[in-house]
Amino acid sequence: MLEIVRQQMICIVAPGWGGGAEIPKQLHDALDALLEDVAVVHFASIGLLPALAGAPNQQPVLVLELAVEEGLRPYDLLYRLVYHPDGAMWTLFGAMVAPHVAVPTAKDKEQLLNQLMSWHSIAAGGFVGARDRSVRQIKMESDLLDQTRIEARKLKPKYSNDRTAFALALARWAYANPRFEWAVKPAPRSYWRGKGASIGAKLAYPVAAIVLWFVVLGIVWALPRAYNWFFGEPGHVGRAIEDAVTKTSECLLTMSWHGLLAFALIAFLVWLFLVPLPAQFVSWRRWLNSVQQELDRPTQTLSSLATYAGGWLIGVPLLLAVAACALAYTVAPLAYAVAPDYMINVVEPKLPKLTGLQIVGIAVVAIAAVLCIGALFYRLNRRFKKLSEQFFHPLEDDVPRAQQIHPSIERCEADLVDGTQHMFSLTELRGPPWWSAWCIRAALRIVTFAGRVFFTQGWLGNAPGIHFGHWHIIDNGRRFLFCSNYDGNFGGYLDDFINGAAVGTTLAWRWTELRPRAPALPEQPGIAKPRSFPPTRFVVFRGVKCELRFKSYARDSMLPHLYHFDACNRTVDQINLATGLRDALFGERNEKNDDLIMRVIET
């Protein structure tokens, strides 16, 4: 399921670019024509990466980024592009495959296709904002929107006071217009946006998996019994098999129950501390908020340092202890099965014997104690105002060379100021690359999954306006490429990330760093001083919250684009609006649809 998202965003990383820092006008136009004609590519960009340090070929590396419709496999896409009679792909890549061949034969093209396939990388993770829409659909729907506005202007004098009649007249006009025949079918929606949009449908999968697991265990347990019932008492071997199967399945069954119970208990505790208790006790809510604020705090204060230390001294051991208890409870049946005597004679006497009432009592007291600690801190802060001011006052901090932007990057941004913005960011994996790559992949799978299943309305967390954002691990896991097509400007985009999707962004980027690199070509940005990603706390905190460091890290990692193709040039909002209009015009005539039409025509 994630692959279908990942392969929507492809980068072709082709080493050995011999051309200059500009794509010739003719090739520019040819690429435009090609992508326009193929009509499955939403966005395409070309950038130059500096060659990898130590690579034999020190010419720049050409990156072609393609953001395409859902479901196309990279091979099929590249096949279509390479074999298109226009031959623009050959003009772009030909010299890197077979120099001095102006008119490629079918064999050359095959070679090019194979080479592109070996160069291509599908996204390690990504997010698609305006989901489930093809290039043609977006174009056709925006045409519908424009035409409806024009028609509405004509009809306005006649229907200005009657919403129902006005909407009906517009709907009739749209129905009767053969140009919009296609719109009669409701705009298609994939499962998680359509039938599976409810939280119930989303929960059904894990629930089904758990039920299935127990059913399978039950069947395995029952099989030898059923056999015996059919064929009578078994022999020696049969009995041994039955015994083994019974023991194993019963042990697994108990372990599964225990695991499930432990998980449920932990989930309950997490919910208790994060949802009802904060709602009930103001002091706890404030304390919880302040802990998060301290962990996220970009400029150090004594309070944030203390919280960090407290996290290590108290939080981490506490969490580990809870996890250890849950683990012990889960694997206990296994221990009983393997070494029953040891468990009964040695381990059991050491465990305290508590009644259920006692356990509940202890739990209540523990929760009350935790609440009191929260309240105590809160009161202390208010009591000793002067001291707490010092405690929370920022310490001196130095962020060198903040708010600096390379002219070529600003130039790219200025060129796209009226359209969808684009960025390339190139960083290197830090520490042992295999470990970083593994962590990044795991984190990105989570982000992709969340985007696919939960954030289906065009927002990633609270961050709007992302068309296609994707991350690639390239060069055998040594470098990390981030490409994004988004509405707005770069700074605002990062602000949205900092405020709206901090955890995901930190997770995706925290395993990277910037090492000195020469510019790919003169006039392009290079990196003079090495830098690591803004420091994080407990993996997910801080990081991107350090605005200055994060923005300057992101800015310095950026590379300009040489070419940018945007098939539709619409914002995510406009795309959603047009789809909404289509469904409202051709849907049932009711107040909601009528009003939606009225709102749309007045934008």
Partner: protein
């Protein structure tokens, strides 16, 4: 021109993969389908509830009631636009059908197919012992050359996708191969049907787009070659349809036939020895032998029909005569499925249906013999041409030393959904 705007998958993740996997598996294991068909023939009322017809009489009945059971069921899977096979009768349908008949009349089978088969066989035997791909190295070309007159003088332009002078004659073989791959995937969607996974459908759509663009560029030369003065959209629709439906389906059928034949060692040996006795020019000229091979082709197709399952739309409420005591109700707006493979093995219509028997006397049910091509007025107009082409291809193969699937270097047969992509063979 039909523009493909894809539809995302509305099924829960996993369900489509599962159902499509099952569908492909059944397509490859026709015996399972036959067994299932036998059950439904026995209890037709069960099939009726599921909207399935299995008995020969029922299948024939549905196929002849073209107004109640419409071909439009195909339309959804025709990614490159509407064409005859998915149309309801009407003026467009009639005009298109006339055009197809006119184009088919231009074919010169079996002469062309024989010539190409001979040439390809010569090349293959010239290569000595070694593996070859039945589809890519042989069938594809035999069918292609036999069907050349479909586009006549415009063939080169169609293959090159360009109307320039350089594309007028014979174009590069690589380009021809690429063209044939393109149309194969378009046809693949018709075979895979609505169960196809999104990536397959998208590939078909991409190829369908490419095919449309290709034909669009050369509709001038095609019109000239056909000598018609229709509107260019009519020419395009027919050219696109003719391109994708004729060639890949015949090639697939050929591969299925060979696959079935290789599984029947005795039959294969017998045919080979007959061919051996006749010798080189004799196999091609002896009318008796040709008739025997032709019968074999049809019987092999019975065991592996290219469409073992067919669907039809139900435009309005009607009933289907499944053969049960009560007719099955078919609600309008729904679909019915025809288990044509079950009909081909219906003992009440086909004597000794379970046996491989090429020279069976079909008696009054002779028309049923061609059920894999459809039935009645909507039967494939190129039925006889296809059989002739496949006969030529098979004769050619019989002149080679004994063939077997080339195992050892991966799987001999590579599938792509229900489509056979590759069939590696070698001589022994």
């Amino acid at each position: 021109m039909k523009l493909s705007t894809y539809e995302p998958d509305a099924l829960p993740p996993g369900v489509r993969r599962l159902s499509y996997g099952l569908f492909c598996w059944l397509n490859r294991h026709t015996t399972v389908l036959r067994a299932f068909g036998a059950l439904l023939r026995h209890w037709p009322s069960v099939g009726g509830r599921l909207g399935l017809a299995a008995r020969a009489s029922a299948v024939r009945d549905v196929l002849t009631r073209t107004r109640s059971f419409s071909n439009t069921a195909h339309a959804a899977n025709m990614v490159s636009g509407d064409y005859l096979i998915g149309m309801d009768p009407g003026p467009t349908y009639s005009a298109d059908r006339d055009l197809v008949h006119a184009r088919l009349a231009a074919l010169d089978v079996p002469a062309d197919s024989d010539a190409e088969a001979q040439q390809r066989i010569k090349a293959l035997s010239g290569r000595g012992v070694g593996a070859f791909d039945l589809i890519d190295d042989y069938l594809m070309w035999v069918v292609f050359h036999a069907m050349r007159p479909l586009f006549g003088a415009a063939t080169g332009a169609v293959v090159a996708g360009s109307a320039t002078a350089s594309a007028q004659g014979d174009v590069d073989e690589g380009l021809q191969r690429q063209y044939m791959l393109e149309i194969r995937y378009v046809a693949g969607q018709l075979l895979a049907g609505s169960l196809a996974t999104l990536d397959l459908r998208r590939r078909a759509e991409a190829c369908g787009d490419a095919l449309q663009a290709r034909i669009d560029r050369v509709s001038g030369p095609i019109g000239a070659a056909w000598g018609v003065k229709s509107a260019s959209e009519d020419i395009e629709r027919n050219a696109v349809g003719l391109a994708w439906i004729s060639h890949p389906v015949t090639v697939q059928s050929g591969a299925l036939i060979v696959q079935e034949l290789l599984g029947r060692a005795k039959v294969y040996e017998e045919l080979r020895s007959k061919a051996g006795r006749l010798g080189e020019p004799g196999v091609w000229t002896d009318p008796e032998f040709r008739k025997i091979v032709r019968n074999h082709v049809l019987e092999l197709m019975r065991f592996r029909p290219i469409f073992p399952l067919l669907a039809r739309d139900v435009p309005r409420d009607t009933e289907m005569k499944t053969g049960a005591r009560y007719n099955a109700g078919c609600p309008g707006g729904g679909k019915v499925s025809l288990l044509s493979i079950a009909a081909l093995f219906d003992p009440s219509a086909v004597p000794q249906s379970g046996r491989f028997c090429p020279d069976r006397d079909w008696g009054k049910n002779d028309a049923l013999r061609y059920l894999m091509f459809g039935y009645g007025t909507r039967q494939c107009p190129a039925r006889d041409h296809a059989v002739e082409i496949l006969t030529s291809a098979l004769i050619g193969l019989l002149t080679l030393p004994r063939l077997q699937l080339a195992r050892g270097e991966g799987k001999a047969i590579a599938y792509d959904g229900p489509l056979m992509l590759r069939m590696r063979m070698r001589t022994t």
